[in-house]
Symmetry: none
Subunit: 258 residues, 2 copies
DNA sequence: CCGAATCATGCATGAACGTGCACAACGTCG
DNA sequence: CGACGTTGTGCACGTTCATGCATGATTCGG
């Protein structure tokens, strides 16, 4: 049996029963409990379930849409590490726009609870990921929902975005390069990002290593406008050095997620 | 039984009964009172309940209805059956507004793929639940996101809703009664529902058996405005008969989900 | 003010856990 | 074809966690 196949089976059990037991799964799938624990850990870090002592519970929150969901699952621990590092720079009382994207989704799920933040987003998944316990007021920008980017796009969304003046924009980047700047795959998405970049007081970008030195078709904003780039140590190389020379503050995430 | 699972069960008892007794819980869950006391202490420190001598009380500010994501898991198979029955009445090419609510969430997830529908909603969870495979264009109404109802409320949302003229409104009902009509727990939610009910060409309500004959604090619309009520056979009784006499078409869902 | 019930705390125990390591299966590239 | 990196798995190790019990302290009701 394939690993992913087994994890899919665990996921379907979760939705059916609402919970799974590690020991039970181990004997049912004829693997060791270690393997099951690894599965559950992975799934939990991808937001598929809640890990608890003895097994796992179905996530009490709404389902994350498949395209975004798949992206969220890729390198989830690394994205969580980025999120943890970025969360430190969210100051109390600030209005923060969180762009769509898998790393930003991880950030939304790990927003600090010891500070009060006004969260604005055009991504329903981000809005739902904000832990209700934190009591951060969440404003969602409406419009035509685009499943590919996982955000609301179009004229309506753009119109609403134009009225905003966020203190901080947590920008999602499909590509990030010292020369090409921040770039996106979708033209409409790029248009909204451009507006946001202009009207925000500060910009922070979360980028996994593989995004550095790459460019997508649509330009959003030059790197000189980005105040802070959160990335990982694995990104070190020529593209990384070039970014550092643009004046942006580069933050390296601790892989352990601290 | 998992520790967290037990604590969740205690929490749901708290919202149901308003109080729990330590000794009673201990014998019901077959653990020692020490364990229960530890649970209650932990929950109290998390703000989930108020610890008192002999047990615990529900927090005075405890939400009357549990948040949407919890409601969605209650009686899920029955809600899926309602959804399957309701899906038959969505006609090709129609613009359908899907209100927030757990049964409506199930409907969104089971939208027919053989017809083209324009979906509009103010619930991010509903927008995300629409299967991307179906290619239904989804418009999401933005605004302040309210975790309690699971929808975007407030002036912004109301303003956008006012511009809509849906062919069909799939209305969520917190209570449904022949005399009291459709009612809601939240005043702002009720305001938006009222607007929608006025501007929609037709109204359909999905209601599980326990909602029939009950009323929530805020009035939305009288039953005479509701064209079709989808409910279950288990609802049959005086309240059910009274609804039938108002002229609305009553549809009974097949428990097998067909 | 007294007895009984309830409680917090410390401790012991076993289950569940994370981590590091070794090994096997697999695909890739020279 | 063989060397190599990757990935999934199981095992051993020490650690953490949940639980029940014992012990005093606290609270409640009369």
């Amino acid at each position: 049996m394939l690993t992913r196949e087994r994890q899919a089976a665990i996921a379907s059990r979760l939705t059916r029963d609402g919970k799974v037991l590690a020991g039970e799964l181990a004997s049912d799938f004829a693997v060791s409990e270690d393997t099951i624990r690894r599965d559950l850990r992975e799934m939990a870090s991808a937001g598929l379930c809640e890990r608890v002592y003895g097994g796992a519970l179905a996530r009490p929150s709404a389902p994350v849409p498949p395209p975004l969901h798949e992206r969220a699952q890729i390198a989830a621990p690394r994205k969580n590490a980025l999120a943890a590092a970025a969360a430190r720079y969210l100051v109390d009382g600030a209005t923060v726009f969180i762009d769509a994207g898998s790393a930003n989704l991880a950030l939304a799920a790990r927003l600090p609870v010891d500070r009060r933040l006004r969260i604005v987003t055009h991504s329903p998944a981000v809005a739902l990921a904000v832990p209700p316990r934190a009591q951060h007021p969440v404003t969602l920008i409406g419009g035509r929902y685009d499943a590919e980017t996982g955000a609301c796009l179009g004229a309506e969304a753009l119109g609403e975005v134009e009225r905003l003046r966020p203190d901080l924009l947590v920008l999602g980047a499909c590509g990030l390069d010292a020369v090409a700047g921040v770039t996106a795959f979708d033209p409409e998405d790029a248009a909204i990002k451009r507006h946001l970049a202009r009207s925000s007081a500060a910009i922070m970008v979360l980028a996994t290593a593989e995004k550095l030195g790459t460019a997508a078709p649509f330009f959003v904003v030059g790197v000189e406008a980005v105040g802070r780039i959160v990335t990982e140590a694995a990104a070190k190389g020529p593209a990384f050095d070039a970014l550092g020379e643009t004046g942006a503050e580069i933050v390296l995430a601790d892989p352990s997620g601290r």
